[in-house]
Symmetry: C2
Amino acid sequence: MSDSEQPTVGPRHYQIPEGDDRERLTCPDCGFIAYENPRIVVGVVARAEDERILLCRRAIPPRIGYWTLPAGYMELGETAETGARREAWEEARAQLKLTGLLAVYSLARIHQVQLIYRAVLTDPHVEAGPESQSVGLFHYSELPWDELAFPTVRWALEQDHQAHMQGHGEAFANPTAEED
Amino acid sequence: MSDSEQPTVGPRHYQIPEGDDRERLTCPDCGFIAYENPRIVVGVVARAEDERILLCRRAIPPRIGYWTLPAGYMELGETAETGARREAWEEARAQLKLTGLLAVYSLARIHQVQLIYRAVLTDPHVEAGPESQSVGLFHYSELPWDELAFPTVRWALEQDHQAHMQGHGEAFANPTAEED
Ligand SMILES: [Zn+2]
Ligand SMILES: [Zn+2]
């Protein structure tokens, strides 16, 4: 895309393709249709052995300096679970074992679906990766509620706490004998 | 994209952008980076009051004539739940109430994440939409196992049955007071 907001090559006009029922971003030169889809964010609520919860203080926009869960865009070629573990490593050098899916959040306005997993740290050592200013482990009662980066971080922390207190069934995933 | 496999305008070269750690599809003319992400499929295992399960016989490729669950790509601007209900309407004219998330399947090789919900039909009337040859309601013991379109359809039917027999906790979703 050029410096202007309006690209001058590639998909840049919205029109309804034949046989479709909604507008798609289309290239007027070659007819290529860029189907835009919601993006998947994978993240984790990871607890240490003493039940403290891992948070990262953001070193990148938006919300620099605020606390968030290890999370980021799922990449091609990985499973959601692999992506969640990758983000925990990239942002907090955390090694962990996933224990199930906590929640699915649909953020329709920003075109995101977040898949948040529960996890336990398998190594107590954590440290800031390149996208974090620092990392911290917090007991639930000591969480920095006023300095959380996004509403979904609060949702996940509260729901993880509820699951922790009351038990929580998990959604299924790929059958273990049949991982893709 | 032109008739050839290789597009000649727009993003068409793989290279690693500065500060990134993997190859992205980039336009050599203007530098536009097309971030490719896994696509989200939303679907449902919907049961009638008599516990029969709704399937659709596909009228479109791939796997024309085989049975599948109502499912399709999540669109921008909808939640996963709204998308699952939309697909049930489009493919089977089914009206339903979602009862929770059954499973998340990662199909890394085909760049898909499937979110499969459980549901009950709120109206017994169903009929084929434009992408279905026909629709059917099947007791679990009578399901057309040899004519299922995809492995994930079998996974979902088996896991829904397991959930139905043994109970099944659900993952959380957006808190109801805070839907996006
Ligand atoms: Zn074009
Ligand atoms: Zn370009």
